[in-house]
């Protein structure tokens, strides 16, 4: 077993936790957390791939690293926007979830 396998399985585990959270969570903040965990899993997969060839003298593959950097910025943009949206929804209606009957 190599560390590649460990981290790739870790990526799978984060996906499980994230997807399960996205399917079950009701509170908007929890949904956002779950999606961010999912993205963490995806990034982990990419970086595990990047480090796979690390045995060679050249070092890790820079391309996935660049992709993940882009991905992190995209993720924070979406997270920020969605959080602002959630706060606006809460301010307007007191809702904190997407379900119809969940008026507080």
């Amino acid at each position: 077993m190599s560390s590649y396998v460990v981290y790739v399985v870790g990526a799978g585990l984060l996906l499980v936790v994230g997807v399960h959270g996205a399917l079950t969570a009701r509170h908007l903040v929890r949904l956002i957390l779950a999606l961010n965990v999912m993205s963490g899993g995806v990034f982990l997969a990419l970086i595990a791939i990047s480090a796979r060839g690390a045995g060679s003298a050249a070092g890790p593959d820079p391309v996935p690293q660049a992709l993940v950097l882009t991905g992190i910025v995209v993720a924070v943009s979406i997270t920020a926007f969605v959080l602002a949206l959630a706060r606006r929804i809460h301010a307007l209606s007191g809702r904190t979830s997407l379900s119809e009957e969940d008026l507080e």
């Binding site: 585990l13 903040v29 963490g40 992190i72 943009s77 920020a80 959080l83």
Partner: protein
């Protein structure tokens, strides 16, 4: 089994558990704090996996800024959603089944991947010299795949415009009267801010040949800005609408302008003339840093704009 591998396994297990607890913590505030821990652990993973650029970015953006936003949001919308209905067995099992199915298939595919070599990465390493920068990640980001990065700066810009749209405002409004900020915090900010700018500047400068660069620098700057705005004085609040917009847009447009220079001089969009490549890249990075930092501060402070919430609520 080596110690390193054991550490990796422990890290992965810890990540998974903390992620689960973060999502399902009864108290959302705890959830947000756990998410920050998750981000820091992930940064550790990036270090383990030889990705120091990412570790910096993750710590600053993933854990730091996202965490701050979450914590701040939870303060407002933290009241738990009405108790979840009691789920049937299918209702409980189905999400697990779906999630495990997806995770297992993905992990399975990843585990069985053959390392065939001959990747893009090797090619990039071979041609870094042509790019005008020394650090391969920066070369990919700003030169070989500069198009992606340009668009990604666009994503941030769009997020900023969209948040202004959500708030239905043109400028940042201070959320609380500035006089209420505790003097110690103000003093702390007085020290931290210059330090932050300094660190940011260093990261930006070092990015061309070592880990670091525009994103990390911007994240550090933004973190400072966020700290200040937590004191009730968002650093951009004094700006006029036009200046705020200029700040937000300058990274994207500078990048675009550099691309057009390439188009005019070298007949290829985003091709930097060899003689001036270093300079052009520096200018791009500078502008991008300013814009990203401004956008992140806006995304944070624009979202928290409480006065509007109370007025609307």
């Amino acid at each position: 089994m080596t110690a390193g591998l054991l550490f990796d396994i422990a890290l992965v297990v810890g990540l998974t558990i903390i992620a689960f607890r973060a999502i399902h913590a009864p108290d959302l505030f705890v959830g947000a704090v756990l998410y920050i821990v998750f981000g820091l652990l992930l940064a550790l993973v990036w270090v383990r996996l030889n990705a120091p650029d990412l570790a910096l970015a993750e710590a600053a953006i993933g854990a730091g800024i996202t965490g701050a936003m979450l914590l701040d949001a939870v303060r407002q919308v933290g009241s738990p959603a009405r108790r979840a209905p009691v789920l049937t067995r299918i209702g409980r099992v189905a999400p697990w089944a779906g999630a495990v199915g997806l995770g297992a298939v993905a992990a399975g595919a990843l585990v069985t991947l053959e390392d065939r070599g001959g990747t893009l990465g090797e090619m990039v390493r071979g041609r870094v010299a042509e790019s005008g920068v020394d650090h391969p990640v920066t070369a990919v980001l700003l030169v070989f795949r500069g198009y992606d990065t340009w668009l990604e700066v666009g994503v941030l810009l769009v997020a900023a415009i969209a948040v202004l749209g959500v708030r239905r405002t043109r400028v940042l409004v201070p959320s609380e009267p500035s006089s209420e900020a505790p003097p110690i915090a103000t003093a702390a900010a007085g020290v931290l801010l210059p330090a932050g700018v300094l660190i940011g500047g260093f990261l930006l400068w070092t990015g061309s040949h070592a880990p670091g660069g525009a994103f990390q620098a911007a994240a550090v700057l933004a973190a400072m800005g966020i700290l200040v705005s937590l004191l009730g004085r968002p650093p951009l609040a004094s700006l006029s609408a036009l200046r705020l917009r200029l700040l937000l847009v300058c990274g994207f447009t500078t990048f675009l302008a550099a691309g057009v220079v390439g188009l005019l001089v070298e007949d290829a969009f985003l091709r930097y003339p060899a003689a001036a490549a270093g300079w052009i890249i520096t200018v791009i990075e500078l502008a991008v840093t300013v814009s990203i930092a401004a956008s992140l501060v806006l995304l944070f402070a624009g979202g928290r704009d409480r006065a509007a919430d109370e007025a609307a609520g």
